[in-house]
């Protein structure tokens, strides 16, 4: 099925989020051969699951559409989804990479007509909505998914549901016999664009993320605000489905904390400021946002956005790292306890919903990369001892989208420098 021909002049990009797509496209549009591998069934990564970007409040899917068009148009770029790197050996300019390809159970005949999804009964947690909702076990990850091809969840293989999916497909697209494949390829340079994952909020014990339904993460909040999300864009409380109008945003949930993540995750302040505007968008003057913070890090022209939010009467700022969250047993309202350190004011404030601005950690810890790699103590990748590895975007540091793209573009150039040399040695 997979015809991935690669040579030591090929650049391998690991990770198909905004950084990986950018690195791959920029290199390909410079005329280089690029292989982009993505672990999940679709490109797009984490930004595809955001409702809006700061500071313009534009939609991430707009940029994704452009990038997907570039992917479709590029003759130098090949994409493998559901693919993971299991081993890398060799040295700069000549690596041998082992890939593991998970079965999709759907081949390229798929037209994304949706008949299999309609036929299957089993549902699974929807990771594209941070498991806030269920989806059919035969699914298109999301409306912008690329490749635009359905996926069968392995849990229905060998069940009547699997057969139902197969029977519903009129195009012979479903292949229940697909197996894990492995693939060995040769590449000249590797760009590690494996991105980030939200810090596990349940580890921040006093905030009760694992105990209180109305304490959610900033990523989950994105899904609630998104018209594609589980609530159709309505900000509803998990406990009772009631509209949440008084919302707290707690900064540094995991970041700047030696018990959790030592580094500042950079994006969370701006993300919360942005999310206060979702509340305003939904309720106008009737909404209420409270931001609990240590330092608001609205760097460079993001300050303009901060000023705009500061002027918004529906948003209040409290300089405080809250001590704990309790829950009102009757209403299940979260109550935040703490002290406003600007002058010292004790508070116990009830909210409809609490949003934890969770920190970023590298989704692949440098130590887990199957190659000798240089990573910092937080797991962010710097380079490899062999010299042909580059990190792009949040694999390298806690970065916002703009800086991730900048980083990915730079890493594409560094990778080109490697394969170019390999190129000349061969010639």
């Amino acid at each position: 099925m997979t015809h991935a021909v690669a040579t030591n002049q090929t650049i391998l990009v690991v990770g198909g989020g905004v950084s990986g797509m950018t690195a791959a496209l920029e290199a390909a549009e410079c005329g280089r051969q690029v292989l982009l591998v993505e672990k999940t069934p679709t490109l797009g990564g984490r930004t595809a699951l955001l409702y809006r970007y700061f500071p313009k409040l534009c939609h991430p899917t707009c940029g994704l559409e452009i990038n997907l068009r570039r992917v479709k148009a590029s003759r130098n770029l090949r994409v493998l989804t559901q693919a993971e790197v299991t081993r890398i050996t060799g040295a700069r300019g000549d690596y041998s990479v082992a890939l593991k390809l998970a079965p999709r159970y759907v081949n390229e005949n798929c037209t994304a007509c949706g008949a299999c999804g309609a036929a299957v009964e089993a549902t699974i947690d929807d990771p594209y909505n941070y498991n806030l909702s269920k989806m059919k076990a035969a699914y298109l990850p999301h409306a912008m998914a690329f490749p635009q091809r359905y996926v069968l969840d392995p849990s229905i293989i060998g069940t009547p549901d699997g057969e139902k999916a197969k029977a519903a497909c009129r195009y012979g697209a479903i292949d229940l016999g697909m197996k894990v494949e492995s693939l060995e390829i040769r590449v000249g340079a590797v760009i590690w664009a494996t991105g980030w994952r939200p810090y596990d909020a349940a580890k921040i014990q006093p905030y009760g993320y694992d105990r209180y339904p109305n304490v959610i993460t900033s990523l989950e909040f994105e899904r609630l605000a998104d018209p594609h999300g589980p609530t159709g864009g309505r900000i509803l409380r998990p406990s009772d489905g009631r509209e949440a109008k008084d919302i707290a945003f707690i900064q540094c949930a995991g970041s700047r904390d030696e018990n959790h993540l030592r580094h500042c995750s950079r994006i969370c302040c701006m993300a919360s400021l942005k999310q206060t505007q979702y509340v305003r968008e939904a309720y106008g003057e009737a909404g209420k946002s409270t931001v609990y913070y240590i330092d608001i890090r609205a760097i460079d022209r993001f300050e303009d956005f901060y000023s705009k939010v500061l002027a918004d009467q529906t948003v209040r700022f409290v300089k405080s790292k809250p001590a704990r969250i309790a829950e009102d047993a009757g209403t299940r309202d979260p109550v935040i306890h703490g002290v406003d350190t600007e002058g010292y004011h004790r508070y116990a404030t009830r909210h409809d919903l609490v949003v934890l601005a969770v920190g970023m950690e590298p989704s692949v810890n440098g130590a887990d990369v199957p190659h000798e790699i240089v990573a910092d103590s937080s797991g962010f990748i710097e380079s490899a001892a062999s010299g042909g590895f580059f990190a792009a975007g949040c694999a390298s540091n806690a970065l916002d989208v703009n800086r991730s793209v900048q980083s990915a573009t730079a890493s594409a150039l560094r990778a080109i420098q490697i394969v170019r040399k390999a190129d000349r040695v061969e010639a």
Partner: protein, 211 residues
């Protein structure tokens, strides 16, 4: 800053490092004070929060601001019950509980602690009680506590709690003869020597005048 142990109080400048240096040298875990980033999680975590004047984070800022008299005369650190909520939550891993006790002890040593602060008085009572014989004499300690605020108050307190006292007596949990002499540890003199040595070590380490 002059020679160790001689802090030039007159020159204590606001936001200078003099008082901070003094705290670092003389207060248990004092070297952590500078690491606070003023997030306030300790302030909100303290169960006695509503009862004191300055939160730990604010005390730390006051130290950095050189507010020596206000800090050492504060009653806030005396309110710490060692629940360690602040310590487990502090994002900078400051040993806040230890610092609070350290500050209290230092303020007491300098005679700057609030005289009538109840925990301070209770702590003194406890210290004297247990170091005298090497054992805690519960009856004397209890009575000492009752009568801390005067004879009348003491009797009133004893009367209020008379049933408990009686019950303990009957259950042989309270020995009235302890009042006369009470039990002691085997080597009382040894304990005293040990405490003296410890005080000497502390004085040497922290630059106090020899006890």
């Amino acid at each position: 800053m002059g020679a160790p142990g001689e802090f030039n109080l007159a020159a204590l400048a606001r936001y200078g490092n003099d008082f901070l240096a003094e705290v670092e040298e003389r207060v248990e875990e004092g070297e952590w004070v500078k690491m606070c980033m003023q997030c306030g999680v300790c302030a909100g975590s303290c169960p006695f929060g509503p009862d004191w004047e300055h939160s730990p984070q604010k005390i730390f800022m006051m130290i950095r601001a050189g507010k020596r008299d206000e800090v050492l005369a504060s009653d806030s650190m005396w309110m710490c019950t060692s629940c360690y909520n602040c310590v487990v939550r502090c994002p900078r891993k400051l040993p806040i509980t230890q610092i609070m006790h350290g500050l209290a002890a230092y303020a007491h040593r300098l005679g700057l602690a609030p005289k009538m602060q109840p925990t301070r008085r209770w702590s003194l009572l406890f210290w004297d009680n247990c170091t005298k014989t090497g054992r805690v004499n519960e009856l004397k300690l209890t009575l000492g506590l009752y009568f801390m605020d005067g004879i009348v108050a003491g009797f009133k307190q004893a009367w209020t709690l008379r049933n408990i006292g009686l019950g303990m007596l009957l259950a042989k949990r309270l020995n009235p003869f302890e009042l006369i002499r009470g039990h002691e540890c085997k080597d009382k003199a040894g304990i005293h020597r040990m405490l003296k040595k410890a005080a000497e070590i502390e004085a040497r380490k922290r630059g106090f005048a020899k006890p």
